[in-house]
Symmetry: C3
């Protein structure tokens, strides 16, 4: 049986306010479409207003001031943040099963914290160290000397090359590769000679990295992903990149070698940055854009090459108006020619 909460109690717990019936009983959380009379649904994006008006949900979690006549609304200042907390309340994380599978392979001098969990066919190379309550999924491979912090979760089949360091409370999803060689080749007479890649990958605390993403080791220095940065699926971080804390990299974005990214920088989906750049704190790179030059802090850029978002919008508008501009030039030419003929005829 699931837990049951009064809507009023949820409001008190999450710093919100009930518009409607505080006695309404909530036993779960669901989407607007799927919710039933004992579920709390949520409206965090105005696009879904119609669905919110049509929902069968017992109550709707929404931003303060959202009007949904005839509905019980749980108003909170930050609905998406409140949703995170409410989901944790109704759906505690899956229980761990501490223990090392007898089917895992452990090298020599492996250091295990308390209550670690290691799945079948996982490989822990020599001198690997796991922090307390670290979880290593089935088939994950941790190379020699890899170091995983407390409460970090390495999902099945992730690979940490030798020497990779992952901080505490990180989530590394399935198929992620950390510490593969950077793409460094010295080209001479048309042939490419490998430059040994000797740096490490260092993932700081509270980082999440999505499925099948890749972070390469540096040539000499380390590639670093800063504390609290969240990385989506199929993202590439090249050798020697340093990403500051609290950044976001959405799906299929990428950063080329040696670029330094400040604090709280956002790369939207399928965007990228060239190598050897400096990208200032708080910069935002729009989806599908490509940064080819340094960006000052607070930039909001779009396009290929990326320019200030306002300039990009204006250029798009002018582009759409081009056929009309061409017609105006043609008209001018005709009128001017007429005038010139007349002038001559004078």
């Amino acid at each position: 049986m699931r837990d049951e909460y009064r809507l009023g109690d949820l409001a008190a717990r999450f710093g919100g306010r009930v518009v409607g019936d505080p006695e309404c009983k909530i036993r779960g959380v669901a989407t607007l479409e799927e919710a039933g009379p004992e579920d709390l649904a949520f409206l965090t994006n105005p696009r879904y207003r119609d669905a919110a008006e049509a929902t069968r949900a017992g109550a709707v979690l929404a931003a303060a001031g959202t009007r949904l006549p005839g509905r019980n609304v749980l108003e909170v200042p930050e609905p998406y943040a409140a949703l995170a907390e409410i989901l944790e309340l109704f759906h505690p994380p899956p229980s761990r099963r501490p223990g090392v599978s007898p089917l895992a392979f452990l090298g020599e001098r492996v250091g295990l914290g308390d209550d670690v969990q290691v799945g079948p066919f996982a490989v822990l190379g020599d001198s690997v160290r796991l922090g307390h309550r670290a979880t290593i999924g089935a088939g994950a491979v941790l190379g020699e000397g890899a170091d995983v912090g407390d409460d970090t979760w390495i999902h099945p089949r992730a690979v940490l090359y030798p020497g990779t360091k992952v901080g505490a409370r990180c989530v590394i999803h399935a198929g992620v590769v950390l510490g593969g060689d950077g793409f460094g080749f010295a080209t001479s007479k048309g042939r490419h000679r490998k430059v040994p890649q000797l740096g490490r990958v260092v993932i700081e605390d509270d980082v999440e990295i999505g499925a099948n993403s890749a972070v390469d080791r540096g040539t000499l220095g380390d590639t670093v992903v800063g504390r609290g940065t969240k990385i989506d699926d199929l993202v590439m971080v090249a050798h020697g990149v340093r990403i500051g804390p609290d950044g976001l990299m959405a799906g299929q974005s990428g950063i080329a070698g040696s670029t330094r990214v400040g604090r709280g920088v956002t790369f939207a989906g399928q965007s990228g940055a060239a190598g050897h750049l400096a990208i200032g704190d708080g910069a935002v790179v729009a989806a599908k854009s490509a940064v080819f030059a340094d960006l000052p802090a607070g930039s909001f850029v779009a396009g290929i090459p990326a320019v200030a978002h306002m300039s990009w919008k204006r250029a798009q508008a002018v582009l759409r108006a081009l056929p009309e501009l061409r017609a105006r030039v043609r008209a001018l030419e005709a009128r001017l020619a007429a005038l010139e003929r007349q002038e001559k005829g004078d």
Copy 2:
């Protein structure tokens, strides 16, 4: 020894017509360049006409009306579809070897259909269910409660997170990750807090997903890939996306969170769509394009942001003509200035 077929018999079997010698013996299928006198080659793209004229093949499979003087031609209405059938005739799929490897790991309450095949080091978590004749490759990991339909093939090292559902007759290639957490974070005071991702991934029947692609689980509802949709390599489908039946997503394309994609929609290579959009039935998104707004059914769009393909073509043409337009404006300015001077002088 390989089977041998009369060209005339192949024509009868596949609803075609022989131009040339129906007695010609065919023992295999090969490319135009590599075919020998006992091979059938195929011409499905007019770019390869020269190769078709130079081929050593005994006969060429081609669309009705293709003229290849002096060659035996097997004319069919849909050559590429006929090729699929003919290849199956000459190259039956590799024989399966039913059985569960003693080196696989099976959790508790695993349900196995008849004649399943499970490779070494595969992991089937608790309560996993495999349909009849399902094939699980070496090192694949199926999380707790994952469900795989009849005749589905999961290639080596694919990962299905707990609760993932894959239909019948699907092909999931190596390295695919289904059900990783969606990229959902609530940002407050610059810090990103994880929103639990509790939905599932549901792959309907007859879907194929290429190597190293990733489909994320929804936040609350499911992420769904519709029946018969084919997905290429390194594609990303974000949380809460719903893709209709019979779609195509080519390599390195991606769809951001919660977007609804209709029936028979095509995403060409390296294209993408932003989140929370509605994309109508039969829409086609050109390669390298990005959809930032809803698309009506039957749209054919290109560009960043994607616009109607015709508008995109026109904009490209105008762009190329811009230097000339600028020159015309300069000429107008000079002529007008001359006229104005003259007028003043009058």
Copy 3:
């Protein structure tokens, strides 16, 4: 204890010249920021000149003619190539541990060269052949009949589908998938029917392929990556593509089906090419660009669709100037109208 070299001896060894003190002792290589007085740092990109002036390094490796007053400089004609050699001197590759793990699975008729190394949970299917000193990482899966050349390194969890051939001295990084089915479907009445993919993937000698990249098998012919070509992470090479020798494909780039790529072609990051094209020797495709037509040898192209880089630069400049051009047209219209009124008034 690390080896120690006189700077003068390094110069003699690598064909360079010392500016400063040839007696300077070098015990390691480090970045400009991290180097100490016994380290050699390197300056291969003029962006880092300030760091080179501030470094604590005992000496700096740089191109001939680089002026760094007061510093010991090791001048060489090709600093990046010299760096590769010097790194190999100071950091010999990790020692291998020949032997087949008792936890690996070997099928029937597997052929093993001398001194191969096979990690735990690796799978070698029937008739797999490994050359001398081949290294197969933990959890890698080599399908039936796969063939790996001498001195090749297959990193953990790479997958070679049946029949894949990899040459000598290759490096295949973690998560790479070679030989997955090409994306070939015959569409009839809106349904997509799989065209069997029967060709192979052939990787020639001295190729490197980065983490989580995918190369698909051809429909009938082979997909080929030419000798010495280097491929970065998350790159896709579709079915039937043939890439010449000595090419470069940077991160997240991709090539669609059947395209032929010449010798020494460069695809920069996140670039792509459509299918069925011919791309000439030495062509360079700029980052984030998309090639939609054949390219002659020596092309340098950018944009979507990719055009000559100079044209692309010019178009960018004109685009930026568009608002001003529009203003000029508006001014012309006003002046012309005034003139016309005046003329009428005459």
